[in-house]
Symmetry: C2
Subunit: 655 residues, 2 copies
């Protein structure tokens, strides 16, 4: 190719423009050809030419019912009490469904509507109208007529029409073939069953993109990971260009760093068309054309790679394959919090969505491009337009459903404190005959109470201890939800009593015994976020012990879940943190108990009778669920499933 090389990186362009540039540079007619497939294997394929019926269906006038074929006129005048008698073999002819109508007949009388009149005749007490119970020639399909136009996507039903019309084979566009090339020195192929060391990752983007492409009907090949080495990449791209693939996708290396060779490799074989799109995640996406084929560079972060695929490549694949680009169902959602955004960049925001009351409530998930689980956990996606500086809290926002509306209606939204038993609850809920999906956002107990106040969850998990009245959660509801509490609008149901304490490495090398061990600042502590019940618990114990917050080394380092705290301890990033025993146990860490506490679910009464909440209550009261959480260690289930009253405190006994 001798086309000029344009340097367009950092001059990011809007997505539609990028797609249009690539379309204009590709010769679709030359790239994707027509092939012939048997009609019965043609579902979801797209016709490359119009097809015309060879046979009519039915091929002749035929009986639509079991009965007698007649000439309608011969039955005129028949009525109740005054039957017409028809002689078999001359006036009427026995037929079964599907039989051709004998010459001269134009109607069928159902077997149920005649009586025998002697051995050779029948009688009918109602006239037949012309063409009654007759399938007429060509009623379904007329020979020679257009059955389907070109570029029609064949449905399972259409297979019936094709075969009935005598079309045994049909011309269709070949599937779009995609070659995926993962790259990177740091990536490990999962088939080697690796254990990633520091700085290594299991290669997964190529597998995600391959699965997305297959869902669009593509045939996908994937090479093993290619090293960060210009020559190795050049060879891999050349192999792809010489293969049957219509599209090559190079995973990672699409940015402008020192080890990013994708751009130069594309330029070496052809032309770089687009480098950089005005979107986040997905900005360092690359599109080029080499030897008539599309070559793309997908960014290395998983969410960026998905955006690159879904926004740039999917429309191009569908255009090449003459199919409709799949679109997600639009939906209006209400954001649980404000989301600022960068001007000039379109941002794709993943949302956890549930139907709470009559509105779709959406909690923005982590925005980092590195978090693939945000795509797994999202029920919807919002696009923050390039010209917006963000989205406001509690306003209606346009989003696109990533799952069915049915599935969203089935989501139970839990917001509040994190607890491992919520995972067990989530699993048990999905095991029900009518499965319920639990999404839990971990924003701390106070965040949960706020969510209840805002009507943005079905229930909240909280374990807020008030030493003044030696009670849990009620004192905080009295303070933050006084009206709802006074009007009896919420119910508290205990999830479990749990043990909080210091999560420490196996063998407790720092020898932590009590809160006093944090006083001298030598222990590297990891805190929980503001509003977390665990942090309130810590603060209470520090005050009791007379330790200043800023004397604690790491008081200002925050994590959002017990497990995150435990992982930091496991990897040595911190010496200890306060958390639940289950988190320590899960990672085989040691645990120094500090306190027992009550973890309750705060449920607005208006949701108490919904199927989802009812399912939760039923599970909490089941022996299976209790057994599972007791097996985790650090929990007591004596109160589990019980409705709590103010002032109850911790009267439940240890089991």
């Amino acid at each position: 190719m001798t086309a000029p090389k344009r340097n367009v990186y950092l001059k990011t362009i809007p997505i539609p423009e990028a797609v249009e540039i690539a379309r204009a540079a590709l010769d679709r007619e030359r790239l994707v050809r027509s092939v012939t497939v048997p009609a019965n294997e043609a579902a979801d394929r797209v016709l490359s030419e119009a097809v015309f019926a060879r046979f009519s269906s039915p091929t002749v006038h035929s009986a639509a019912m079991d009965g007698y074929a007649v000439t309608a006129q011969a039955t005129f005048g028949a009525r109740e009490g005054s039957p017409k008698v028809l002689r078999k073999g001359t006036d009427c002819f026995a037929v079964n469904t599907g039989h051709p109508l004998p010459e001269g007949c134009d109607a069928v009388i159902m077997i149920e509507n005649v009586t025998e009149s002697g051995p050779d005749a029948i009688a009918t007490e109602a006239p037949a109208f012309p063409w009654q119970h007759v399938r007429r020639i060509g009623e379904d399909i007329v020979a020679t007529e257009l059955l389907f136009p070109r570029n029609h996507r064949i449905s399972p039903y259409d297979i019936g029409a094709l075969l009935s019309a005598g079309l045994w084979d049909v011309p269709v566009w070949e599937p779009v073939r995609v070659a995926v090339i993962p790259t990177g020195d740091e990536v490990l192929d999962f088939t080697t069953r690796p254990t990633p060391g520091a700085g290594q990752v299991v290669e997964s983007n190529s597998q995600v993109l391959a699965a997305l492409a297959r869902r669009l009907g593509c045939t996908v090949t994937r090479t093993p990971p290619v090293a960060d080495n210009p020559e190795a990449l050049r060879q891999a791209v050349q192999d792809a260009l010489e293969s049957e693939a219509h599209i090559a996708i190079i995973c990672a290396g699409s940015s402008a760093g020192t080890k990013d060779y994708t751009r130069d490799t594309i330029a070496a074989f052809g032309e770089v068309l687009v480098h950089g799109i005005a979107a986040m995640p997905g900005k360092p996406s690359l599109l080029g054309v080499c030897r008539g084929k599309l070559v793309a560079g997908a960014p290395g972060y998983p969410v960026s790679a998905v955006v690159c695929f879904e926004e740039l490549l999917a429309p191009l694949i569908c255009w090449l394959g003459r199919t409709e680009t799949p679109r997600r169902q639009p939906v209006q959602v209400e954001l649980t919090r404000k989301v600022p955004s960068k001007l000039g960049m379109e941002e794709f925001l993943r949302l956890a969505v549930g139907k709470v009351g009559d509105k779709y409530v959406a909690t923005p998930l982590a925005r980092g491009a590195g978090c693939i689980t945000t795509l797994s956990r999202a029920q919807a996606l919002a696009r923050i337009p390039a010209q917006a500086e963000g989205l406001e809290q509690h306003t209606a926002v346009a989003a696109e459903l990533m799952v069915s509306e049915e599935a969203v209606r089935n989501v139970l939204v839990c917001v509040g404190s994190h607890d491992n038993t919520l995972d067990v609850l989530a699993d048990e809920l999905m095991g029900l005959d009518s499965p319920v999906r639990l999404t839990s956002s971990h924003v701390g107990s106070m965040g949960g109470i706020l969510a209840i106040k805002n009507g943005s969850c079905h229930f909240a998990g909280a374990h807020l201890f008030d030493p003044e009245c030696d009670d849990y959660n009620f004192p905080f509801l009295a303070k933050y939800l006084p009206e709802q509490l006074a009007k009896n609008e919420v119910t508290l149901v205990n999830l479990a009593i749990r043990h909080q304490g210091f999560i420490v490495p196996k063998g407790n090398p720092r020898g932590i015994r009590s809160i006093q061990d944090l006083a001298d600042g030598t222990v590297r502590f990891l805190n929980r976020q503001r509003g977390a019940g665990t942090r309130i618990l810590l603060d209470y114990h520090l005050k009791q012990a007379g330790i200043a917050f800023d004397a604690v080394n790491g008081y200002d380092k925050e994590e959002f879940t017990h497990m995150a705290v435990a992982v930091n301890v496991l990897t040595g990033a911190a010496d200890t943190g306060l958390g639940i025993r289950a988190a320590a146990r899960a990672l085989e860490l040691d645990f120094v108990p500090l306190a027992r506490e009550r973890y309750d679910l705060i449920i607005p009464n208006r949701f108490m009778e919904t199927p989802g909440v009812q399912a939760v209550l039923k599970l909490l009261r089941s022996p299976t669920f209790r057994a599972r959480i007791e097996a985790m260690g650090g929990y007591e289930t004596t109160l589990t499933g019980q409705i709590m009253q103010a002032g109850y405190g911790l009267k439940g006994k240890e089991s």
Copy 2:
């Protein structure tokens, strides 16, 4: 099985009840087992157990950007004009994206935001905040935590999460395996490339059901057609029961006729649970359980078979496979005509739907269960409830979209007279870079004018001749749409001038030469329906010739399209009928010209600028389109694409 045999046929039951009976009779846990598949092949599969992360992601705190890892605190106080200098190797460490953070560091400064300060140091003019540009341990995935609950359907994104979490293989439910058994003496297997004789049909239901089942993720096997013979059927069912299939579907033979052996065969192997559902089409559906497997009898008519599959079997397959039953998007449509319905039976009505102006306009398609093309042509389905006696015209009706909303918005609705060039137009429209789907309902020219009046189409096709003013269409618009015409609200664009005449068998055996040949009643004529321009043309010529309508043999036998008339002539069902030359030519019949006439498209001006109508106008004026319709014979394109004025008549010359 020794369970009692219940005779429930003719005691038809509602669909949900039938599904529930079958669910209750099946032991899902025993029938469908768990298997293990590689994570990268698990898209769309359903987890049989909860899966928990083995690795955290990231496994350690790591750089999210290329730059320098620092201790945030060391940068505090840096500001423009007053930089902090950091020594490489002690205060800061060069890192690339993905590198683990060196011990003690908690932030990364982007390479773009530092300046070299001598060979061994960098300077920054802004403080780094803690955890800036750092991906923290477990930010995406925390080891040991629940990744996905049981019965979660794995998305392409989830594959990324699974691999990142170190899950190389996952436990999933095996695909539901379906054995499809076509039956019938009259059915021909398409693989033999047959030409069906009278009373024979190409077997297609089994292929349609197989494609529908595959779309639900099933593994499908299909046997060749089984003869109508109890022993052969028994053997086929036994083979299916002894195979790996979870479900056997017997196609046809599910009714109560003399050759319907399905019921007895199921009873011989197990228990008939349901025979007859309160739905049309689909009534003679059968459900049974044999040796723990589901055995179904699908009715023989194709639409009935599809209803049986989609309404009874799909929910059971999804329940067995632990997936959500796919639901179609609900939509409100306005019916173009009244539809009576039988009380006590739920009816499934296929609808051709387009968005005309701001409403979805739905034309009910043929209701016969034998017409598979009604499913191919439908964009939506309406359910007429059992307790309703029908649906009213011009009222909003709840329907379900069978295609995407996008696709419906892209449908161009043409109502009116039938002409073969509309097929060519439909094909050319689908060949455009932005394809447009044309649906045409053949209700005659007068029906088209009525549709314009009711706002239920984008344009109408008409060829109505008024001998009094020797003009086409305008006189009828003046009569039926006086206001629209006076207000200049419609535009007439010529499609073609075409030739009408007598369609006669090859060689014209009855020697038909003119309209006079219909006068003595010996020629078996086939008429077009009331309101068809062709019928008006016939009536005009009969009157001119002084022939009484009832003198014509077959004047009361009606067909709805030219092609249907031609097919009747081809098969000998009629000696002749009036129609266009293209229809005669398509079936290699002869043609006796009677008249030339103008066929116009009547287009409301409000649609003139829509992309669909603009695409039509552009095509009409293209040489390609004209060449195609001229090649059909019997058309002149001298006026094609021109806007017509009142009084123009047929001034276009023959080409």
